[in-house]
């Protein structure tokens, strides 16, 4: 036994409170932390200390309860005991790692098991940090600050990635989807259509004599016209299923899932009327315009099966579009996928 003077350090608490004060002054990033321990006293003590260090703390008395809590509301950091009845901390960690979670969960194992073998076993199970119970609370807080920092960085990266992806599939001028979006998601619509044997329609749209409008009113007015075109198109589509993509200067593709040829023709004519109905107000004044539309649709099982690539659909819609253009514009024509024929309307 150690002599009386060497027993539990009386300076521990003041240091702890200094650390907590420092944490507060630095106003740390919000971090949701889940404490998992089968002992209620341990849970209560850890929750008190961690709340003082500005963690948003939840507590669970078992691994099963922890999984339930995490399903209800995800957490960034999991602080878990190893030895618990039923499911232990290692099994919990393995389940967390196996789950396809949207964001990374930083796992810190807090245990009395202090030998190297246990540490390695914990790390192999997916634990990020391993702290032996009985050490200083300040050390635990410091390690949890690392966890907070890492999860914050991961979160920032995820937000940046999401924004980068959004930008990569968005047309900057009109805010609608771009060609990359079309090439990524039209194949998925086709796969769905084939799997469930559901119809799928594609419209190819082009503003008539857009070059002349640009030459006459200027590029800025042309840009505003494109924005007006997108607004009118989107107003005619079902927001939950249909979508639009800008694939060239004044060329757009409309995708209509679950839509037969007759329905697609109705939508195309509705669009044509919306375009020509009233002029678009631009800085250069009101500009009237019309558009040509090509329509294609696959609806019979053999037709859907015959389309293996989206290019077949796009080419068919373009055939309809060229037919409309050749007839003077401001019209809707159908392009057949199977025969390569065009129907005029």
């Amino acid at each position: 036994m150690r002599p009386e003077s060497q027993r539990d350090e009386p300076e521990e608490n003041p240091d702890l409170h200094d650390t907590i004060l420092t944490h507060r002054l630095q106003s740390p990033q919000p971090c949701r932390l889940l404490v998992v321990d089968d002992d209620d006293l341990v849970r209560t003590r850890l929750a008190t200390v961690l709340r003082a260090a500005q963690f948003d703390v939840e507590a669970a008395g078992s691994a099963d309860e922890a999984l339930h809590v995490m399903r209800m509301r995800p957490c960034q950091v999991l602080l878990t005991d190893w030895q618990m009845p039923d499911m232990d901390g290692l099994a919990l960690c393995r389940i967390v790692r196996a789950d396809q979670r949207e964001s990374y969960v930083y796992v810190l194992m807090l245990t009395v098991r202090s030998n190297k073998k246990d540490l390695l076993e914990g790390l192999a199970a997916g634990v990020d940090e391993y702290v032996v119970k009985g050490g200083s609370i300040n050390e635990l807080l410091a390690r949890l600050e690392v966890a907070r920092r890492i999860t914050h960085i991961e979160q920032s990266l995820r937000v940046t990635n999401r924004e980068n992806f959004r930008l990569s599939v968005t047309d900057p001028l009109t805010g609608t989807n771009n060609l990359r979006f079309l090439m990524k998601y039209l194949p998925r619509e086709l796969v769905r259509s084939r799997r469930y044997n559901h119809p799928l329609a594609v419209l190819s749209c082009d503003i008539d004599r857009f070059k002349q409008i640009n030459d006459r009113f200027g590029h800025e007015a042309g840009d505003q016209l494109l924005q007006g075109f997108v607004a009118r198109t989107e107003a005619c589509l079902r927001a939950s299923t249909d979508w639009l993509a800008r694939v060239g200067g004044d060329e757009f593709v409309v995708v209509l899932p679950e839509t037969r040829a007759a329905g697609a023709n109705l939508v195309a004519n509705k669009l044509r009327q919306a375009y020509g109905g009233s002029p678009v107000i631009t800085d250069a004044g009101p500009i009237s315009f019309t558009a040509s539309v090509g329509v294609t649709a696959v609806e019979a099982a053999h037709e859907i099966e015959s389309v293996s690539r989206i290019e077949q659909l796009l080419r068919a819609a373009d055939r309809g579009l060229y037919a409309s253009k050749n007839l003077g514009g401001n019209r809707v024509s159908a392009g057949m996928v199977a025969s390569g024929q065009t129907a005029y309307r």
Binding site: M1, D8, K133, G134
Partner: protein
């Protein structure tokens, strides 16, 4: 500001973070725990039953005591409980290997168990006030725990 122009950070008084209350609850629970530990020790010393489940239960209880005492910063108690846990592990291993050192392992385990029970007893003397930190609970003169 101090003489160097640095802002002086005033040390805040330690808030009542409930630690003493948790320690009191823990020490209160030890009364029941002491009886269980003593029963397990007695069962092992009688040697009439399958030792494995008794050892497993004893180890589990020692482990739990170690963890809780550590978090409540009762370090000496945690150390004693840990010694018991390791001693039980040693006995379990010796049993499994039918080792000739099993008797020695048992002696170490019994000493560790007795030391822990003695500390719990010393905490429960009527003259002691709750909550008591184990370090404060036994003066060097009355201490009966074997040296580290």
């Amino acid at each position: 500001m101090n003489s160097h122009g640095q802002r002086r950070v005033r040390r805040l008084p330690a808030p009542d973070d409930g630690l003493e209350e948790l320690r009191a609850t823990f020490l209160g629970r030890l009364i029941g725990e002491r009886q269980l530990l003593a029963n397990l020790g007695a069962a092992l010393s009688q040697g009439k039953m399958d030792r494995a489940p008794v050892l497993s239960e004893l180890r589990s209880r020692a482990h739990r005591l170690t963890g809780t005492a550590s978090i409540l910063e009762l370090r000496e108690f945690a150390a004693l409980a840990r010694v018991l846990e390791l001693a039980v592990e040693g006995s379990t291993k010796a049993d499994r290997m039918l080792s000739s050192r099993a008797e020695n392992s048992d002696r170490v385990m019994c000493a560790a168990l007795q030391a822990l029970i003695d500390v719990i007893d010393s905490l429960n003397k009527p003259s002691r006030k709750w909550p008591l930190h184990p370090c404060m609970a036994t003066s060097p003169r009355t201490r009966r725990i074997p040296a580290d």
